[in-house]
Symmetry: C2
Subunit: 579 residues, 2 copies
């Protein structure tokens, strides 16, 4: 068994197993190669640089004993896939479900998730999106602190478990999206810098030195990440990747890393004969990300647009702290529904600078939007969901705007039944100093938002993840059942109504009254009308409508008059317009 | 007289003159405003932040006593311009002359430069480019350590002197280009950080923290630089700006600072009714800089392309140290002549990474090229010019390739007569520690290139600038006169030959023989043939040529045969092709 590793500055690298120590030989361009005498392909191994402690393979495919253990080879050809012929549906028809494996099911494993795929199909979901699964320290965590980027987390079920889940998704007709973190590595168990120049101090991120994508040695570090992306798509049959926080990925070279990555993924799609997509989480309000390369863009398939969430959240909750200070008006809600960004070049008070640029010539399916996600729920002091903050009636309006928007809607696990469980921040570090630092960091972060910092859940406590686990039993009881039915009806309506799937932003128009608190979103011959007021009110009928028909209403009190639509307090309705 | 200053974090700002101290009032958005009782507009002033020492105005238009002195107001409306109706010629027809004011003339002043404009006209120059003139510490320096970006250096003649020079350029029919440094400020006399968040530690440059263009407060710091650019164009009548080292300008926001700057300059051009241009010095090999905004570019008018210099320099001198290790073959020379970059995505040994991307759909006049400039000459241990390193014959070939290339040629002062004076690095810092650090820095930088580090000129010594000053007397004597005539003939030929001004890269094609050491550059029906060998040789005739005519040859021995061109050793000729 030959093992290879890139360690350009190492004087010597030794391949280590429990029974052997093999001196590796330089194989050119900073790579080292060594062959084990052991005939089996399953021998755990590690690398020792210049006689130092054994370190896991930077490209380790499996870390059964965590980031501080030996690496285990994986023979990807051994898994029996049953998804031949599978092709994911286009993003324009997608409804994505974001899932944290550790809290989604009782067992908190890939296999546990498989049991709930029927629920997702019933709901109308098209794609399951997994929060990061790359090996991180401990048995529980969100996963954004991954350190072995090629190894599915041991506590979730490792490589085979993940393959079973993706295979089951495809069998159920669901696409599978994986969240990957290419902007930093976790604080515990990251040995990459011992192997090579994976980091650069030229750029600083919230987590320290940036990943090196444009300095010396970056040919290999870019390959490391691109190869990693291709590996998930090729070996684990994922349909798409969601790139975490690309605003913390810095690259001033002539071809941005994201452009290279998108091009390589699309080339693989052509090779494999099935569509593959790259979706970026971005705080940049930068249309270049999803603009075609021939128009000077990076050619990503889609990007998350947080302004959508912030505009609706701030308007409905009245919250104005932190970044919500930049949002709050009904005009902002109308702007995100029609033009993607609120901040398209205008000054942001929160950022104290101009932010974003207008979206021109792009269609809505280039943007993934939500009214809740792991960050917006979990990065609150108490991890409250939107359903914990506003009434069911207003929650239904938010859901209707999400599902009938011209964008790709994303739902966070449990959102579909207004789950009672919060989603809180949890980690499982063995270093008490690190655990204490994370705990203190959370307390400080929320000091301004909460009266008693002692109420902030301890990320290190196992109760915190327990509290965050979905309670599937409650689904059948009110008010959860009613919310679930609402989401299911909305999604079904989206799927069967061509106007609602139409991603062309020029086919969407908005009208609203900031004083009376109503909003109407016209999508072709389909109309979404919202009354945010706590009084009934009459909304104007579209000029060109001869008759209106209610397709779906949050209240039975929605009434079509001759020249107006009577909307009960806090209600929403989706109507078809006949001319 | 009202004075204004941006100091967003200052608790109080005081306007200080020799006779008054006026408490300024907050005027919104971090700006402060104060009015002097003094009626005259000429009173020197400074600002004291929270009772601290008086500091010059960040936007000071004049620092008659250097960066540590008070600021002096300038009434730009008082200068009597005589350049009404002036319009610069397009870059496609330009031949640029780079000039360091302090060493160009005996007096080292703007007025001294005026006396030499006739020489430039005689040579065929179209644009005079001044190395930075913004106030820096001391009486002598290259100028890249400017700290008062709005104030023409006092030792050069201050604001009025600079206006006289630009006005004289225009009167002589020369465009005027100013080199501006927006990537850092000098190490001595920079007080910007006392006023506001002009810097950010998010990005690191070779000079420390980067200029803040995308973090909090960046609306004003971007305005500071854009307003500065517009000021030089509007108040000093410059025709173009050359932006120093844009690869050290970091901006991850949705609209890159360079795009904003180019758009504002072009808007000013429309307002003023005369063409204005922005040219970037760039080490990025990134065509996006000069790509139109509608194609996803930043819309700059042109960029410097160093590969041109490096390919020709390394091939002709045989030097292979530092960045020259990436160059050296005749194939590289052919590639820069036909395709702008040698590094268009391929791996660079020197950089230890992939570098650049191909130029597609851009014309040659988007690229400014040279075979010598202040950096390539001055950033050698001894400041040797190309003429000090190779024979006159080979220098003539290099000049012919430069002047007949499809790009915008730039000549460094004295190059046109192979000046005997070097161009060395000099500073004039009053802080002995800083002076010593610069001196040591130079010695270390060149330790690998020079046997005896003591030979590296002391930047602080006044002899170093004296040595670097042009000796205008030598022009009339050989070999200088002959070189000057060669440059003058080449430039005249370029101006009168449409093929040689044609910037379309698809109209340029190359042929070369790496063993026989000849190269032929075809530009439409004009042919530039070079014999780099030290033996005569016969070069093939173009297939479609019925007759060839020598337009210009470096040797009288160039002979047109029936099926070949006989080229003497180390010679170049420019021929017209008749079909």
């Amino acid at each position: 068994m030959i093992r290879r590793v890139w360690a350009p500055f190492a004087p010597q690298v030794t391949l280590v197993t429990s029974s052997e120590r093999i001196e590796m030989r330089a194989a050119g361009d900073g790579w080292w190669s060594g062959e084990l005498n052991e005939p089996t392909t399953r021998t755990d191994y590690a690398f020792s640089i210049d006689g130092g402690e054994p370190l896991p393979d930077p490209r380790s495919p499996s870390q059964p004993n965590g980031p501080f253990g030996f690496s285990r080879p994986v023979d990807h050809s051994r898994f029996k896939w049953s998804d031949a012929g599978w092709r994911q549906p286009p993003l324009g028809s997608a409804v994505i479900y974001e899932c944290h494996v550790g809290t989604f099911s009782t067992s908190g494993t890939f296999d546990g998730a498989i049991e709930r795929l029927g629920h997702l199909k019933d709901l109308g979901i098209t794609h399951l999106e997994l929060m990061p699964v790359a090996e991180f320290e401990g048995e529980r965590g969100w996963g954004y602190d991954g350190v072995d980027l090629w190894a599915p987390h041991h506590a979730y079920g490792g490589p085979d478990g993940l393959k079973r889940l993706v295979d089951a998704c495809h069998e159920a007709g669901l696409g599978a999206i994986l969240d990957v973190v290419y902007n930093h590595l976790g604080p515990s168990g990251n040995f990459l810098q011992r192997f090579g120049p994976y980091h650069t101090n030229r750029y600083q991120t919230p987590w320290g030195d940036a990943i090196n994508l444009d300095a010396a040695g970056s040919y290999e570090t870019r390959r490391f990440l691109c190869d990693n992306a291709l590996m998930w798509l090729r070996e684990y049959h994922f349909d798409a990747l969601r790139l975490d926080a690309v605003h913390a990925i810095f690259d001033a070279s002539a071809t941005h890393f994201l452009e290279q990555l998108a091009a390589e993924v699309h080339t693989l799609a052509a090779q494999l004969g099935r569509p593959l997509a790259v979706i970026a989480e971005s705080d940049l309000n930068q249309p270049r990300l999803v603009t075609a390369p021939e128009a000077g863009g990076y050619g990503l398939d889609a990007e998350w647009s947080d302004d959508f969430h912030h505009a609706i959240h701030a308007f409905l909750t009245g919250e104005r702290s932190g970044y919500y200070q930049d949002f709050g008006s009904l005009a902002d809600v109308a702007k995100v529904l029609g033009h993607v960004y609120v901040y398209d070049g205008k000054h942001s008070k929160f950022r104290r600078r101009a932010h974003g640029r207008p979206v021109r010539g792009l269609s809505g399916d280039r943007f993934v939007v939500c009214i809740q996600n792991h960050d917006q729920v979990g990065n609150r002091a108490m991890g409250e969901r939107l359903g914990h903050l506003i009434s069911s009636e207003r929650l239904k309006i938010a859901a209707a705007l999400l599902i009938s928007s011209p964008y790709v809607p994303l739902i966070f696990q449990g959102e579909e039944w207004a789950a009672s469980s919060p989603f809180q921040y949890f980690v499982d570090y063995r270093d008490p100093k690190l655990a204490a630092a994370v705990r203190e960091g959370r307390r400080k972060e929320f000091a301004h938002f909460i009266d008693d910092p002692d109420r902030v859940p301890d990320p290190q406590a196992s109760e915190t993840i327990d509290r965050s686990r979905l309670n599937w039993e409650e689904r059948a009881s009110e008010p959860h059942r009613e919310i679930f039915e609402w989401y299911r009806s909305l999604i079904a309506l989206r799927h069967r109504t061509p106007d609602l799937c139409d991603p062309r932003l020029e086919h969407t128009s908005l009208e609203f009254d900031d004083v009376a608190h109503w909003l109407a979103m016209r999508r072709g011959a389909t109309l979404v009308v919202c009354n945010f007021a706590s009084l009934s009110q009459q909304l104007p009928m579209p000029d060109d409508a001869s008759t209106l028909k209610v397709l779906l209403g949050s209240s039975s009190g929605v009434t079509i008059g001759e020249h107006h639509i009577l909307m009960p307090p806090s209600s929403v309705a989706i109507l078809s317009i006949a001319r």
